[in-house]
Amino acid sequence: MDQKPKDDFDFLEPSVLLDETHYQTGFKNGYSEGLVSGKEEGRQVGLKNGFQVGEELGFYQGCLDVWTSLVSIDQDAFSARVRKNIEQLAALLRSYPLSNPEDEQVQDIMEKIRLKFRVITASLGTKLEYQGRPTSSKQDVEDL
C-alpha cells in the first residue's frame, strides 16, 4: 500500500492554523465590540417601540376610565351591549403583559384591543380613535 512516511507532514497546516488564529482573534475582538454596539442599537429600538406601545395602551385605558366612571354614575349612560363591550375591553387591557415585550401574545392581544375599541366607539357614534401610527408600529414588529 502507498502510505505516507511517518515523518511527512502537511506543509500547509501551519499556515492554515495561523490563519485560523488571526480569524479567531479578529472574531473575538469583533464580538466584544458587537455586544456593545448591538446592545445600544437594540436599546434604541426598544425605547421607541416601548414608548409607542405604552402610549397606545395608555390611550385605550384612559378612554376606558372615562367610560367606566360614567357608568358608575349613570347606569343608563350606555346601552347594556356597550357596557358589556366596555367590560370586555377592560379584561383585554388587564391581560396585556406590559412589562414583557417578548411575550408571543402581545400582538394578538393588541389586535383584539383595537377591534374591541372600534366596536365601542362605533356604538357610541363618536370619531374617537388612536392617533398614533399603527402601521408604523406594525412595521416595527415585523422588523423584529
Binding site: G26, G46, G50, G58
Partner: protein, 225 residues
C-alpha cells in the same frame, strides 16, 4: 375644593352615588385625596407625573413650547447611528495596525507583504463576523432594556391623551353628569386642545430628548417616572 363645593351644592339624585365624579387634579393639581372614581385616581397619577414633573407645569404645557422641529428629528437620527460610526473607526484602526510593515527590498519584501496581507484579511473577516454575531446575540437584551425604560412613560402619556380625548368626545349631557363643575369641564377641554397639538411623533421626540438629557446629567438614564 371648587369641584367638591359645586358637587355638594347640587341636590343628589336617587341613582347618583354620594361622591359625584370630579377630576380634582384638573382644577387643583395639588389636591390630595378626593373621590375614589377610577378616572380621578388615574388623572391624579398622570398629572403628578406630567404636570408637576418632567414636562413642567400646566401653564408651560399649555403654551406649546414642546413643539419640535424637523431639524431636531434629523439630529436624533445622527444620534442613533453613532454606534455604527464607532465600529467603522475601529475597523480603520485595525487597518492602521496591520499596515505597519517594514519595507525590505527584494523578493523577501514581496513575500512579507503578501503574508501580512493574508493575516490582515483573516483578522478582518473574523472581526466582521464577530461584530455581527455579538450584535445578534445582544439585540433582544438591548431591546428589552430600552422597552422597559420607555413603556411606562408612554403609557402615562397615553392615559392623558385617552382621558382628555374621551371626555371631549362625550355628549354635553354626559359631560355634565361626569363633571358637574363648569370650570372643570373648561380646564379639561383646554388640556385636550393642548394634547391634540402634540402628535405621536412629537411625543416620541420629547421622550427621546428627555432620555438624552438624563444620560448627560447622570450616568444612568432615569426614564421611569
Amino acid at each position: 375644593a371648587g369641584c367638591r363645593q359645586a358637587a355638594r351644592g347640587r341636590p343628589p339624585a336617587p341613582a347618583t352615588p354620594r361622591e359625584v365624579g370630579c377630576v380634582h387634579t384638573a382644577c387643583s393639581l395639588q389636591q390630595a385625596g378626593g373621590c375614589n372614581l377610577p378616572i380621578c385616581k388615574t388623572t391624579k397619577q398622570v398629572a403628578s407625573c406630567f404636570f408637576n414633573g418632567r414636562f413642567g407645569g400646566f401653564e408651560r404645557f399649555g403654551s406649546f413650547t414642546w413643539r419640535v422641529t424637523r431639524g431636531i428629528i434629523s439630529s436624533k437620527d445622527s444620534e442613533i447611528s453613532q454606534p455604527g460610526n464607532s465600529v467603522d473607526d475601529d475597523a480603520i484602526a485595525d487597518d492602521d495596525v496591520w499596515d505597519d510593515v517594514s519595507d525590505s527590498p527584494g523578493h523577501g519584501s514581496t513575500l512579507d507583504r503578501e503574508w501580512v496581507h493574508r493575516q490582515n484579511q483573516f483578522h478582518k473577516m473574523g472581526y466582521r463576523d464577530g461584530i455581527a454575531e455579538g450584535q445578534k446575540d445582544i439585540a433582544q437584551e438591548g431591546f428589552n432594556v430600552g422597552f422597559g425604560q420607555s413603556v411606562h412613560v408612554g403609557y402615562k402619556w397615553g392615559l392623558v391623551r385617552g382621558i382628555t380625548s374621551a371626555l371631549a368626545s362625550l355628549p354635553d349631557s354626559l359631560k355634565e353628569k361626569l363633571l358637574p363643575n363648569v370650570q372643570c369641564r373648561g380646564q379639561l377641554q383646554e388640556l385636550n386642545n393642548s394634547v391634540q397639538e402634540i402628535s405621536a411623533e412629537d411625543a416620541l421626540q420629547m421622550f427621546h430628548e428627555s432620555i438624552l438629557q438624563s444620560s448627560h446629567s447622570s450616568e444612568e438614564p432615569d426614564a421611569t417616572l
